[in-house]
Subunit: 303 residues, 2 copies
């Protein structure tokens, strides 16, 4: 039976990759440091991917036909410049190497829009220059280059999911949207910069499904995972204010803009739509409403 | 005392890096899987750099101020497309990560002219496009990107020695020049392609000294390690024929040219000469004469 191995399967994005892969009828293997409670129809493997010996054992045990590699350090406020990016880059290369050696036929890695040098227009997989400015973006880019070269030298099919801004419930609380939602629900003021930065926010369920469809396809190369729709941070805040019913708490311009942040970072999604055959369908209002609802269940308003 | 750690120190190039570093007065540490017999004024460490645990122990034991990282798989006929390139890339990132964490102040990696997309003109570190076509070139390039990003994020000084074609005694026997020399000395015909490919051959002693000077300098970024002098493979063969005294044995055009090989791969060495302050001084005739002499000592002519 065709075997797909998913790393980072318990992560924010990874957990939304699994259902679509299961539907494909393949035998799904997933790796996590600790086994999750709900197991679905998945063979779970408890391994630490940052341990060389455990990585090799994982690949020898599973011998996957397709490797879908999502695992990476994404600790908020930390991952952009953390040395752990090098740990994950090294682990990625090693994982790919052992998969290649043991007969993998397709490798799908997950990259980032931070690999691009955005210039106020949609990022295109082949036209937009690659010029990461963070350690995170640089190590992801370095991995893509090595994975591509390894795949091409070994006759392995490969793809690279360049993920834009996944949002949804269960996002870590210190991230922008959960922290805004939490403030508004608690009746606290939500202080913002100018909010002028425009981003491509994608519902994490759509992102997971897109990555799964990419893995199941035979599409080669980098593929943007986004919606193609530009939304400013200010719009996000105003939508959240309206959904919570407290637009008065939004304080636009209360904080300074962060230096060096790109103004516009939005995906061109022609490859995803036309080649992979997947179009993200959730509207941002739906995603934000779900986030607010989940926060209200977690901590009901004192009233 | 200032500590310099050299990996690959027993290799073809690495052994010629050591003397210049020793002269600098720094405390030199070198790593090798097996201890060499002649030890110079060096602290040798017996570690396998492809083992994660041993890498960490090495860095913890030595805590280098400068890391000069030459170790890589360079098995002739194998290294261009071997999966071991991924092992060495992963080991490199991990080594750099632990060095950065433990206070290294300068990292010098060794890359290759195979990172460039040469277009019949001298390769310039910043002007020539980077477009490796081999797994070897791609993984070296990926390492450079990750090392640069790590160094920049951590405030560490870094350089990347882009090595052209080192030649000299002790080069592995299956490589072009040793095999030509061996054939001519044995009185066998030396069959060649058109020999039209033009390369930048550098005496390995000069290459080692150049890398040492780069390591001791504060020069940042990629630096070509070559002579800037173009020499065709045909010229090399003819010189060898003349030095051995058997020009009649050279058969130019007896073999087909290899497809996909760049025609012209020569370094622009302004950074090495002007910024590092080092100019390779050995002429190719001298290098080839030394090679022939060493072969004659190793296997005297039956006469």
């Amino acid at each position: 039976m065709y075997k797909i191995l998913v790393t980072g399967a318990t992560g924010f994005v990874g957990r939304h990759v699994l259902p679509q892969l299961i539907k494909s009828g393949a035998e799904i293997h997933a790796v996590a440091r600790e086994m999750p409670e709900q197991a679905l129809s998945i063979s779970w493997h408890a391994f630490d991917l940052l341990d060389q010996t455990q990585r090799v054992r994982l690949i020898c045990d599973v011998r996957p036909d397709t490797l879908v590699h999502l695992a990476w350090d994404t600790t908020p406020g930390h991952f952009w410049s953390s040395l752990s990016n090098l740990d994950w880059a090294a682990a990625t290369l090693d994982l790919v190497r052992h998969s290649a050696e043991r007969g993998v036929s397709r490798i799908v890695g997950v990259g980032t829009c931070a690999e691009y040098d955005p210039a106020d227009q949609e990022c295109d997989e082949y036209q937009t220059p690659i010029a990461p400015t963070s350690l995170y973006g640089s190590t992801k880019d370095a991995c893509r280059r090595a994975v591509q070269a390894c795949a091409e030298a070994s006759g392995i099919s490969w793809a690279w999911a360049r993920l834009f801004y996944p949002i949804g419930i269960d996002e870590k609380e210190t991230r922008l949207i959960p922290s805004l939602a939490a403030a508004l629900i608690s009746g606290c003021s939500a202080q913002l910069s100018s909010g002028a930065a425009v981003r491509d926010f994608i519902d994490v369920r759509d992102a997971g499904e897109a990555i799964a469809e990419l893995a199941l396809s035979q599409v080669i190369g980098p593929v943007n995972i986004g919606t193609g729709r530009p939304t400013s941070v200010r719009q996000i805040a105003e939508l959240l204010g309206r959904i919570v019913g407290r637009p008065d708490l939004i304080e636009i311009g209360a904080l300074p803009d962060r230096a060096g942040e790109p103004h516009y970072l939005v995906a061109r999604i022609n490859r995803l739509v036309d080649e992979v055959g997947f179009r993200p369908h959730r509207q941002i209002e739906e995603t934000l409403t779900d986030i607010v609802t989940s926060h209200r269940i977690a901590r009901p308003r004192a009233s």
